[in-house]
């Protein structure tokens, strides 16, 4: 009896999975079809790999952002954290400490910046929007301290290999996206920490009454967001062979767009990593496709905004009709 119930439950899950992502998946397919009509090279393996590589920085930052939005909060500082992380890496390598310490300190700096965001939000009861607008500015200012605003070259071969080399024929950068996607997905959907995050985002007061340590969840989630942004910072600096003071500028908006395109609700409590990955792919396909067609940058901005509105509208509407 339990087994049939299990199978029935799984079937319900599968059906709800299809429904959940139908809208966003359709948007992605439509985009791909349009671009491959315009340029047959769009759907080539080489270009698809290219898209994945280009979108990696945004996708990883968006995984972190998804956690924050699930809590009903927002993190606008991740673009700045991306830049700080790159600069920390470049400086530590410059000191000659080697690759591994540089990597660890870089990720640690991201976690610390996230923790600061989380602590200010949870302990001082400030809205995360305000806190992270402020830290966005502070962190962006910090980037320039070591070099007075000049970029810092990175020559470490291991560091640059991350963005340039392949493993088993697949670029390392794509492996990283894949591994982090799986890790975030499992943490969110299979652990009680993930469940507590969902519940807190869904109804903070009820979570509190049920004994969930809401403040701790908030701080950990902002730390995850900061750490993911630091990984993005590593990838970006490795691809650019340098740490730039304006790296990752306005990436927070792309990360938010990816999460929201993927069905994450800004009200909190609703969203998945799969959705966010699909959302990031849409943004990647859009950027790549328009570049291929040599669409001028300012038109790209306009089109991107419009696509976001249309895709989210389709998604919301298809969900409403089912409700």
């Amino acid at each position: 009896m339990n087994q049939t119930a299990d199978i029935a439950a799984r079937r319900v899950q599968l059906r709800s999975f299809m429904r959940q992502y139908a809208g966003i998946f359709l948007s992605l397919v439509i985009l791909c079809v349009i671009f491959s009509f315009a340029n047959p090279r769009f759907m080539s393996v080489a270009n698809l790999t290219n898209i994945l590589q280009q979108v990696s920085v945004i996708a990883i930052a968006a995984f972190g952002m998804t956690w924050v939005i699930l809590l009903g909060e927002i993190d606008l500082s991740i673009g700045s954290i991306i830049a700080v992380a790159g600069m920390v890496g470049a400086q530590v390598i410059g000191l000659g400490w080697g690759f591994v310490p540089a990597l660890l300190l870089t990720l640690g700096s991201g976690a610390l910046m996230g923790l600061i965001n989380g602590a200010l939000t949870a302990k001082l009861l400030l809205p995360s929007f305000i806190v992270t607008v402020a830290t966005m500015s502070i962190y962006r200012g910090l980037v320039s301290l070591p070099t007075n605003g000049a970029p810092e070259m990175i020559m470490d071969p291991s560091w640059t290999a991350i963005g340039g080399e392949s493993f088993l024929g697949i670029p390392i950068i794509i492996w990283i996206v894949f591994v982090l996607f799986v890790a975030n997905h499992i943490l969110l959907s299979r652990t009680t920490f993930g469940r507590r995050t969902y519940l807190t985002g869904g109804n903070r007061e009820a979570a509190l009454y049920s004994g969930i340590n809401v403040d701790r969840i908030k701080m950990i989630v902002f730390m995850i967001s900061g750490t993911m942004a630091a990984v993005s910072g590593v990838l970006l600096s490795s691809r650019l062979y340098s740490a730039q003071t304006n790296a990752g500028l306005s990436y927070e908006l792309d990360a938010i767009a990816a999460a929201v395109l993927g069905g994450t609700s800004l009200a909190g409590g609703v969203g998945t990593m799969i959705g966010t990955l699909l959302g990031a792919l849409i943004i990647g396909a859009l950027n790549n496709g328009m570049n291929m067609l040599s669409v001028p940058y300012f038109y790209q901005l306009i089109v991107k905004g419009l696509v976001i509105i249309i895709a989210v509208y389709l998604d919301v509407r298809s969900k409403q009709r089912r409700a």
């Binding site: 439950a9 319900v12 709800s16 869904g202 109804n203 009820a206 979570a207 009454y209 049920s210 609703v270």
Partner: protein, 504 residues
């Protein structure tokens, strides 16, 4: 019966409604006459609220026909329903917590000039309305500072703030005590004298038998029958509603009340919180059911909130003989306490999440592997057991809690706290909005837990529930303990006397 058809204001026939695969209404008929109170009676999830939401333009019916004063009626929006003379007081509160009472009552109808709201006029209008209805509420208070009962009164004022020929009241008394209910009954009396039709929904049989002119019974989204009051007894109505005979309202005791010799698990001494309660002391023994009675504003829920670590209070709390300080619900739960709050919508349920996630949310550590993973299979079993044990009407354990009917949401919150296996279980209005059958089940579970040694503190505004279930009763009056009495031999009159402070 002297009915002709000229006083028919609303006719429904074969109305149905489905939400995806869920068929909430299969075929519903109803004939509502002006100047009469028409009660809808049905189990939790029978489709009562759904029907009322169709009438008030929240969502459209999927089939059937509705006639309002002889004309076809299919409102697309709540505004259209209001323009057609329908007023509704919803089951779940729909107030903006950060606004004042006046702003809520007159939402969408604020007195304004050129788009600017005139505060003076706003308060005047609201004040006049509230006074006219005879409701004891301060229109300048912010909703967040009000108790559940007061919020319910605001909701009633909001629903009745515009002229209507049909007034719908969906479980308006579920969080009211007797005194406030009386005010509502007087309002209903006046409405019917003015020739208005009232559609009334409640699970409290005494008030149904007292108020109704006509009673329509529905079961599983289908029309069963309509009777005039007096043509059926309570027992007959319940049998029609649940489809079987029910003889008892309270299950028999499974154990004797623990004697004086048994050491209490929980001792509260001199709890005080300025403005809310003062010098509150009580004890509960393992296996005891301690009732808490009091009028609205007597501070019962506030005491429980403090005890559970949500708010700070002075005084001493002793658990198992050891003095403890509890500064958060997490700590309280760690000490083996559980607290079912009265406000299930805001403090109990995560509406956007599945029944399964809600049922286990207060006991998640029991569903966590050492590596931090969720014990999914164990959770499935727990949720399925909750559905069976409390007869929760839900499509599956994956159903979103927010789509359940009010009474079934209440059952989910009950299940959530049962899953924590507490030593001290605090229940604040545990059977709010629950139908008679499910009430019996909840009472039986409470009795069984007591027999197994759980100490139970039960706050309730329902006098019969307090007297029928408790071993001892703490009666609060204006933030203080008016009396603590053995419930044997206690009469409703004496309890009321203590609660109103007339008895010293």
């Amino acid at each position: 019966m002297a009915q002709n058809d000229s006083d028919i204001v609303l006719t429904l026939s074969g109305v149905c409604k489905s939400f995806g695969p869920v068929q909430a209404l299969k075929s519903m008929d109803l004939t509502v006459r002006s100047g009469r109170v028409h009660t809808l009676l049905g189990e939790n999830g029978a489709g009562k609220s759904t029907l009322m939401k169709i009438l008030s333009g929240i969502y459209p019916a999927t089939g059937g026909s509705i006639e309002l004063a002889g004309k076809p009626y299919a409102p697309q929006t709540p505004l259209e329903a209001a323009e057609n003379g329908l007023a509704i007081v919803f089951q779940e509160l729909s107030l903006c917590n950060n606004l004042t009472v006046a702003e809520n009552i007159l939402a969408m109808r604020e007195p304004s000039r050129a788009g600017f709201i005139s505060d003076r006029k706003l308060f005047q209008t609201a004040e006049a309305l509230v006074r006219d209805l005879g409701l004891p509420i301060d229109v300048r208070a912010r909703v967040i500072d009000l108790s559940m009962a007061q919020r319910q009164l605001v909701e009633i004022a909001k629903g009745l703030s515009h002229d209507a020929r049909i007034v719908i009241l969906d479980e308006p008394t579920s969080s009211l005590t007797g005194a406030e209910s009386e005010i509502l009954f007087q309002i209903i009396g006046r409405l019917t004298r003015e020739g208005k039709a009232v559609i009334y929904i409640s699970h409290r049989m005494e008030e149904i038998m007292r108020l109704s002119d006509d009673i329509t019974v529905m079961r599983d989204g289908e029309y069963v029958t309509t009777v005039e009051r007096g043509d059926a007894t309570v027992e007959q109505l319940i049998a029609l509603m649940v489809g079987r005979q029910m003889n008892e309202i309270y299950p028999p005791r499974e154990s004797e009340a623990p004697g004086e010799a048994v050491a209490p698990v929980l001792v509260a001494e001199g709890l005080s919180r300025p403005g809310e309660f003062e010098d509150v002391s009580f004890t509960v023994r393992p296996g005891e059911i301690l009732g808490f009675f009091g009028l609205v504003g007597s501070g019962r829920s506030e005491v429980m909130n403090a005890l559970f670590g949500m708010t700070a209070a002075e005084g001493r709390v002793v658990l198992d003989g050891k003095a403890v300080t509890i500064s958060s619900p997490a700590e309280a739960i760690g000490h083996g306490m559980a607290f079912l709050t009265e406000n299930r919508g805001e403090q109990g349920l995560v509406r956007s999440h599945s029944l399964r996630a809600n049922v286990t949310m207060a006991a998640l550590q029991d569903f966590t592997t050492r590596g931090g993973f969720l014990k999914s299979r164990k959770e499935t079993t727990e949720a399925q057991q909750a559905i069976e044990r409390l007869a929760i009407r839900a499509n599956s354990i994956e159903t979103r809690a927010g789509t359940l009917s009010g009474g079934n949401q209440q059952k989910v919150v009950v299940a959530k706290w049962l899953a924590t296996n507490p030593r001290v279980l605090i229940l604040d209005e545990p059977t709010r909005g629950v139908d008679v059958g499910a009430k019996f089940e909840i009472y039986r579970i409470i009795r069984r837990l007591a027999a197994q040694g759980t100490a139970i503190v039960m706050v309730s505004s329902e006098m019969p529930e307090i007297l029928g279930m408790s071993d001892r009763v703490v009666i609060m009056s204006e933030g203080r303990v008016g009396a603590t009495k053995e419930s044997a031999g206690l009469t409703p009159e004496r309890v009321m006397a203590y609660a109103t402070g007339q008895h010293k």
